[in-house]
């Protein structure tokens, strides 16, 4: 299948641009810093409240969530960086000419690139989440609950951003595309908080605006659900925490987000098919 060839080349390209190495290196650096912070924090907590006390586990989980929150953010950044000029770059440099004139369909190029980017993004987030879980297990014998679903949702969050960026790259140059996609993400981020605060202060219109924007860019919503699932139940009851979530988008929202990604991908295919190269 030509799709796999394109995916492979996309991955190869990221490796050649040192993106894979930089990602791995920064990931390791992040895990190192996290491990140190987590260790110091847990030492204090354990001395103060006892190693397996509710407070210690709560604090440990809170700190782990903070780390996961950072991973989610890094994932979103990586999603933008790897995809921001994936099509526009090949178009402006002219390398697309000898590819598109091969016996393959344009949709195969777009889908192949998307799969290659998805693989990279997934590996990055998986690697960091697995590393983080290993650290919390080694230090506190604690792993955030539902870490698997959480990781999957974080990947979905990054995928939303990556797919939007792929769509943008059919027409926009790298810089413009990056700005647009990050602004959309920022919007979704703000909307997530708006929804949450609206719910707390029972402001219906704030909630509605938040929901509408979340539907337009359902990235942050996936993180909210991930965070909600990865809290221990007693923290969940307690309500809002800065890195977690008091209430969570429903499973229906997850299905919606899946469909959303497919629709955006289809739109990218359509735009790329129509454009002059």
């Amino acid at each position: 299948m030509k799709i796999w060839l394109i995916a492979e080349m996309t991955f190869h390209e990221a490796r050649q641009r040192r993106l894979v190495w930089i990602g791995a290196l920064l990931g390791l650096l992040f895990l190192g810093v996290f491990a140190l912070g987590y260790y110091l924090m847990y030492q204090d907590m354990a001395r103060f409240a006892g190693p397996l006390s509710t407070q210690a586990i709560g604090a440990a989980n809170g700190f782990a969530l903070m780390g996961l929150y950072a991973i989610n953010f890094l994932g979103v950044m990586l999603a933008v960086i790897i995809s921001v000029d994936t099509l526009s770059g090949e178009i402006s440099s002219g390398t697309i000419h000898t590819i598109v004139t091969k016996p393959l369909r344009r949709w195969e190029i777009v889908v192949g690139k998307w799969l290659g980017l998805l693989a990279m993004l997934s590996l990055f987030i998986l690697f960091l989440c697995a590393g983080l879980s290993l650290i919390t297990w080694l230090i506190a014998r604690h792993i955030p609950p539902n870490i698997v679903q959480g990781t999957a949702l974080m990947i979905l969050c990054g995928t939303v951003v990556m797919t939007l960026s792929l769509l943008g790259s059919t027409y926009l140059a790298a810089l413009a595309n990056g700005v647009v996609v990050l602004m959309l993400y920022g919007l979704a981020f703000a909307a997530g908080w708006m929804e949450e605060f609206g719910a707390i202060f029972q402001n219906a219109s704030a909630v509605q605006v938040g929901i509408v924007v979340s539907l337009l860019v359902p990235a942050e919503a996936m993180w909210k659900r991930a965070a909600y699932l990865m809290q221990p139940s007693f923290v969940r009851e307690f309500g809002m925490s800065p890195f977690g979530a008091g209430s969570a988008p429903s499973p229906a929202m997850v299905i919606y987000t899946f469909l959303y990604v497919l629709v955006i991908l289809a739109a990218a295919v359509r735009l790329f098919q129509r454009r002059d190269l």
Binding site: K2, L5, M9, E13, Q16, S93, G94, T95, H97, T98, I99, V100, T101, K102, P103, L104, R105, R106, R274, D276, L277
Partner: protein, 302 residues
């Protein structure tokens, strides 16, 4: 079936008409030269024929199929105007990647790639990254890429730009080999000598409009200039030549430039001269140089 067919093919970029209602047929096995000044619409035409650019109107067929149809693209080779590829790839990896897009089996790729590198004069460079290639070397590599799949139709958009004289000759040689193998070649070029040397037919496009198509003889207006070098060209003999055409010029009494109506007249001219006592040294048909024609068509009719 035509190798290439364009029916009222048109492309507008905003108000610019890049190609205006182009009608064109190229036979299979023909080497077709496509000429025109800068910005005349040559590249746009090729891009429409390859499905890179959507026509504003009209239709195109390559090997009987719509541009971009994978079934046709499997038999097409293309060297783009500004050929470039990812600089981190080595020449061999670059060709391997493109061969895989043709679904070429690994074993065939191992054979074909060194063979092609050799053919374009890049043997020994397979492990070098494209970043280190000069413009001409890159152009050669692009040409190798266009020949990977043993194509039936090859589009070359200014293949000799950036090539040294040797490289140009090699490209000419490759085009001749392709013609001998029955491959259709669509050649965009500014090198008129090269077009004269290899093309069966030529089309000239001016501001998006195809203004002339035909063989070089047809473009020259069907007339043929013949240089006659002979001893004993008496005024009577010279006057007698008029039955085959017009005497353009006479130099001394051993050299005459005759504009003959057709090539078939040459044997008759030769035997008539000899029978009437002239000692014939040379009878050289010389076409009107394409350059004159090009300048006249592109400039004179403005």
């Amino acid at each position: 079936m035509w190798a290439i067919e364009a029916i009222s093919l048109r492309k507008e970029y905003g108000r610019t008409v890049a190609v205006a209602d182009l009608n064109l047929q190229v036979r299979q096995g023909e080497v077709f030269g496509f000429l025109g000044a800068n910005g005349a619409g040559k590249t746009t035409t090729v891009k429409m024929l390859l499905g890179l650019v959507r026509p504003s109107a009209g239709q195109a067929f390559v090997l009987g199929r719509r541009p971009g149809d994978p079934a046709a693209m499997a038999h097409i080779g293309f060297l783009p105007e500004h050929f470039r590829f990812h600089p981190w790839l080595t020449a061999a990896d670059f060709l391997d990647y493109h061969a895989r897009m043709y679904s070429m089996p690994a074993e065939e790729r191992r054979r074909r790639i060194p063979e092609l590198l050799e053919r374009v004069g890049l043997a020994g460079w397979e492990r070098t990254r494209l970043a280190k290639f000069s413009k001409g070397m890159l152009q050669r590599l692009g040409l190798a890429q266009a020949l990977l799949n043993h194509p039936r139709v090859v589009f070359l958009d200014e293949p000799t730009s950036g090539l040294d004289p040797l490289g140009r000759r090699e490209v000419r040689e490759i085009i001749r080999q392709l013609r001998d193998a029955g491959v259709t070649v669509f050649l965009n070029s500014h090198m008129l000598g090269e077009v004269e040397a290899v093309c069966d037919r030529v089309g000239i496009i001016r501001q998006g409009e195809l203004v002339r198509v035909g063989t070089l003889e047809e473009l020259a207006g069907g007339t043929l200039q013949v240089e006659i070098r002979a001893q004993g060209l008496t005024p009577e003999l010279t006057a007698g030549l008029a039955r085959w055409g017009r005497v353009v010029r006479q130099e001394g009494n051993d050299r005459v430039l005759l504009e003959a109506a057709k090539e078939e007249a040459l044997p008759a001219i030769a035997s008539w001269l000899v029978e009437n006592g002239a000692r014939l040294y040379a009878l050289t048909p010389c076409r009107r140089p394409l350059e004159d024609l090009f300048v006249q068509i592109v400039e004179g009719e403005r």
